[in-house]
Symmetry: C2
């Protein structure tokens, strides 16, 4: 074959990256670059660190907390700024902060860390305020801060680099953060004038935690046991129960009861209901172990009997880019806290401590339990009445022995070469009535993965590059309101608004179906890929979550059947057209394929083959000349061998098959028949394609030019090509045609 | 620019693999495929599992133990088989083995696992022998097995899948393996008629070990303390002192004394000198932790005050391809065993155990110490005399509290996307008198990395693909004899012999110097890259381990200045020539560049640039159209713009720079001036190259054709191209030209 040397070289590098792909590692089927898709951005000059996002309720407003500024924008179009207020650090405070050795330009500023509804007209906001955390009220009517200058200690970190989480429950703020300048005193607290509560400052309670999330789970409104609302906190901390090299991190879920009033003597103004447990996310048979939790999303849906929470993890050790998603049932969490065993510390040889399961008698009422009907019946109407024995026990035994294990006892998704930072989940019903939890997971490189469980395992529908410059995504928010579904992502650089699906980007029925996107279906009537939630009632939509595209009748198997604008470099009127032929069917190019009438037309033909070399997994790299290099490609045009501008490309698929393709670059002046043969010792394959240059085409030129100009703005050949590959791989792997 | 779509797509994939490259992760500068270099192979039809290699002493023989066969080959040319003997399992034994549920085709065969010199005329060999391990004597004179049918229990594993190691010391075999059919009883033993010794069968002694290596360290011949020879064992086992999720693995070094005779009552026929310690190989500030040891090489050299041992590690958790090499001083090991604290187990809450430092009184003589002059002076002439207190202590406290930490307290090398299996080290002196420890490290994909410490960190000189089909390398052996230096690698498929360097493959002075291979230097007299050990005395050799190629005067900067055979596909007499121009100097092609006189000549021009986009690290992938896609390439030939067959290639370097190159494919009929400009918003760069078609060249055709045919056999364009890239990257990163 004609050696395309650069391609061969790159190929080896590519193989090296794919060769170690594990079965659990799905690859995004499509990657959208910012220019491919319509993303709305919000960024204010001079403002950075857009870390707090809050959706208004029912008024299409998104509130954004950034460094020294708070904004209100239209949530349907975040570029439409409606209000802003600046909250700057005073020069005096900045100077004091700098005196303590902090950076005047970065650390000694006011980073908004809490942005919560106090009520329907007031936002509660807190900022780091040059290492003097301060809270204030923001009046939504005038979008003005009232200047309350409340001490924010325990609600907001001093240091913008420190972790924090908070949730407002019935007008009271529950926070997880650090309580002092050094950041050495962690705290989970409730800011309440009536009953402020906090954690003990003790290693068994919190040991260098990194807080990632907090939320309330309301009691069952139909429950008869008088249970309480519970607030859950998620964090990673240094383990006390495990010992490995250095500090072993461990992901935790902790909870407190809303009705907790603290103890009367023991645990006075401290939580009497603080319990925590390990969150397991591992696949030990595979030596996969994820012990750093990065974010949580609690999924509630009318059809779900109980909330399910999704969490993203990375490993602590040797993390060269590896992430996992685990999902958990809230009822299991409840069981661990309400029925599980406790851990206790035991002293070993005077100076060492080991945490083991507590197997002694547990006091009554059960330590850490909320005050429910049973407790009330026993005359414990409030935590203030609880006996010292129960309180002392929970003070010493905040850690459960049982772990919270994920649904199916394994991760939903393990992904290589990526560090997941945030997650939101949308639960939707596809056309076949199956319900899908669609996960949107952001990365530390500014990307968003959209993944869904398929029969064959997790399928990453698409990857969308939200932020140029690979900014880590710090906050992810889902607006799940029907007809207004959007993902909002905050980073240091700005905020991006993305729709939950890009259905219209799939230009053919096959492409639309192969996307296996539960939001999308092909409308034969409109001849486009549509959002099923906007086309409800349309009866003829084609959606197959299996990816079976056989319902796409009457369509040539083009990927995509679109022209590409010629390179500006060439300065000619040539157009490139790609297509992808099924191996045996002669294809007559349809109208969409043909470029406008011009003197010359340049076509690239891309017939794909999946070659399975005797069923065995192919080697890591191109080690066997006898196997792969044996393949030769022969191209003919109207029976004449083509000698020049033949390129060959090879890919090793994760399942061990080889995807081998070749293309020619040719100038199309008249209808021609192209024939491409792959010749190898294991057999030959030949494909023919007749490209008909339709002279009548010229009359359709006007409409075609319009279509082209629409495309031109959106389509970039590089990424399309990349997508073509991914599509081809995907269909190749699946259909093995 | 003219879109080379396939390249762009691949490029994204390439970036994904490079984007997460860590600073500690050097990339091999060159990769040799089997066809590039002269490797000698030994493989016998029908024979597999070439897992035991042993060098004869002074007779240029390599002994090879495989499945059911032992061979003697010429160590200077292993394809030259000298003797062989088959050692098959009897049908009877095979049937019995199969009855126990083992596979008749694979497991119930005889895998040679021990191959050691008993004396100068007899080899001691053991095989698994269908799960009935058996040992025999191989007479070297006749190359016949004497049929001793010795029970091999404790010397050789039952199961070929189980780990094993052994070393012959003064006619006695020291082994680490498993002692029973199930493989559940691990053992370190000495096979000695006089004094057979073994380990206690107890978790604190050995806890599910995987043995990887054993060797003897002789006592200092000038020592006055009467120390003993010591046998060291290296293995990974399940930790007792750490607790993490599941089973925590831990790498160990253990040692016994050669003079050990066991105890009289306590530890009768057991080691009284068995002690073990943790081997640390981690970089905790980087969360890098390697806790599975795969192989060890003990480096002894006249200029080394003490032996240094090198070990290769992989992580237990989340190993998606990551390896490390650590080096240790033997004196530290000695200190840990002779002066370190012991660990003891403490019972916690009845049912749990925790291992902590023992801080009580240590009996005398020191438990586990060899019988030295001091012990003898105290009347302990043998371990049989040792007091019960000492013996009971060592029985209960075989584990040291101190770890053996690596030299400089950090790994020598951390490498991504690879699992290192074996290591050997050659210590050599470069021309500047600096001594280098050259590490040869094999992978589980059949490759060999050759690495050396450079000022800038570890430098991987080259990667050599030893085995097609990516066979894991199971055994690696170095023959360090001057003038006969070879690497021997055994795998399931066969044995490969490779020289320690491929100097002659570096065709130019620049290439030879940039290789930074301490074995190689450029000989201006011979105009070739030579092995310095074969050219001792040659005074004008050019070798710069810094990679400074400025001494290579009078040479054009060609990579490589060689023609390539035309593709067979094209069927024409065209030749491809590559070259690589420095950015500003006009270059007249030298004689080596020109193809033989033919009607047409096709050249690809490859000018490289390193573009540093404002000094900032570039994004993970091609996210910023404004930055990189802004670049346009303009090619001109004799002042005329070239529109067709222009290709563009881009690479992100690990340091964040972009390597951008472009080439044209053109037919060269007459001397022409090519001009290539890179145009971007940040500035333009232009390069000119004049290719002179020298008509006198035809007269030199004959010598040229000869040179070509030499090259033809060895050179394949694909790999050369790959190497060109790597060279370009390397030089690009270093020289920033």
């Amino acid at each position: 074959e004609m050696p395309n040397m650069a391609l061969d070289g790159l190929f080896v590098a590519l193989l090296l990256s794919f060769g170690t792909t594990v079965a659990l590692d799905p690859i995004p089927r499509i990657t959208w670059e910012p220019r491919d898709v319509h993303l709305v951005r919000f960024q204010e000059p001079g403002v950075s660190n857009y870390s707090a996002l809050l959706l208004g309720s029912g008024d299409d407003t998104l509130y954004i907390g950034a460094r020294e500024a708070i904004f209100a924008v239209n949530s349907l179009n975040i570029a439409d700024k409606q209000h802003e207020v600046r909250w700057r650090v005073t020069e005096d405070k900045k100077a004091k902060c700098a005196e303590k050795g902090k950076s005047k330009e970065t650390e000694c500023l006011n980073y908004i860390r809490v942005l919560q509804f106090l009520n329907s007209t007031v936002l509660y906001v807190c900022g780091t305020n040059a290492f003097q955390p301060t809270c204030d009220h923001l009046l939504l009517k005038t979008f003005e801060l009232v200047g309350k200058n409340e001490d924010g200690k325990g609600r907001c970190p001093f240091d913008p680099a420190q972790s924090y989480t908070s949730v407002m429950v019935d007008g009271e703020l529950y926070s997880g953060t650090s309580y002092n300048f050094l950041g050495s005193e962690p705290i989970i607290s409730r800011n309440s004038p009536q009953s402020p509560l906090r954690t003990e400052y003790a290693i068994p309670w919190l040991n260098e935690p990194s807080f990632v999330y907090a939320d309330v789970i309301r009691k069952n409104p139909n429950g008869t046991d008088g249970e309480d609302d519970k607030i859950y906190f998620f964090f990673t901390e240094v383990s006390v129960e495990y010992e490995f090299f250095g500090k072993s991190m461990i992901p935790r879920i902790a909870r407190v009861c809303k009705g907790d009033q603290g103890g009367l003597r023991t645990l006075q103004k401290k939580w009497t209901s603080f319990l925590k447990a390990r969150l397991a996310c591992s696949l030990l048979e595979n030596n996969s172990l994820f012990n750093v939790i990065n974010d949580v999303f609690i999924l509630r849906a009318p059809d779900l009997k109980e909330p399910v929470f999704y969490a993203v993890f990375t490993p602590q050790w040797n993390n060269v880019g590896l992430s996992a998603v685990c999902a958990y049932n809230m009822s299991l969490v409840e069981d661990v806290f309400s029925k599980g065993k406790y851990m206790q510390s035991a002293t070993v040889e005077q100076s060492h401590t080991k945490w083991v399961r507590y197997s002694g008698e547990v006091p009554k009422p059960r330590p850490g339990a909320c005050i429910n009907n049973e407790a009330k019946a026993a005359n414990y109407s409030s935590s203030l009445n609880l006996p010292d024995k129960t309180l002392q026990f929970v003070k010493d035994h905040p850690l459960m022995d049982d772990s919270v294990v994920p649904i199916s006892n394994r991760p939903r998704l393990i992904k290589r070469d990526v560090n997941y930072t945030q997650i939101v989940v949308d639960r939707i019903q596809a056309l076949d009535k199956t319900v899908y939890d669609v996960m949107f997971i952001s990365t530390d490189r500014g990307a968003l993965h959209k993944a869904v469980s398929a029969d064959s395992g997790m399928h990453i529908i698409e990857e969308t590059q939200l932020f140029p410059g690979s900014e880590p995504v710090q906050t992810l928010l889902l607006s799940a309101e029907p007809g207004k579904k959007y993902i909002y992502a905050g980073s240091n650089a700005g905020v991006v608004q993305a729709p939950v699906a890009f259905c219209e980007k799939h230009r053919t029925c096959v492409d639309c179906v192969l996307a296996r996107d539960p939001y999308c279906a092909w409308s034969p009537r409109k001849a486009s890929c549509v959002d099923i939630f906007k086309e409800r009632g349309s009866i003829s939509l084609i959606q197959k979550m299996s990816g079976d595209a056989s319902s796409c009748t009457g369509e040539f198997f083009f990927f995509p059947k679109m022209p590409f604008p010629a390179s500006e470099m060439t300065g000619s009127s040539w157009f490139l057209c790609f297509f992808h032929l099924s191996c045996t069917t002669p294809v007559t190019a349809g109208p969409g394929l043909m470029p406008p009438a011009s003197s010359q037309r340049l076509c690239w033909l891309l017939p794909p083959w999946c070659l399975d070399w005797g069923g065995r997994a192919l080697p890591h790299s191109f080690r066997e000349p006898g196997a792969i290099f044996d393949v030769h490609v022969l191209w003919e045009k109207n029976g004449q061998k083509i000698d020049v501008c033949v390129s060959v490309q090879t890919h090793l698929l994760p399942d061990g098959k080889v995807y081998y393709f070749s293309w020619v670059k040719d100038t199309l002046r008249e209808s021609s028949e192209y024939c491409c043969s792959f010749l190898s010792k294991t057999g030959n394959k030949t494909s023919k394609a007749r490209i008909t240059v339709d002279r009548q085409e010229a009359t359709r030129q006007e409409s075609w030019t319009r279509e082209l100009s629409n495309w031109k703005s959106a389509v970039h050949e590089h990424d399309q090509m990349m997508q073509n590959w991914r599509k081809a791989w995907e269909s190749c792997t699946e259909d093995n045609y």
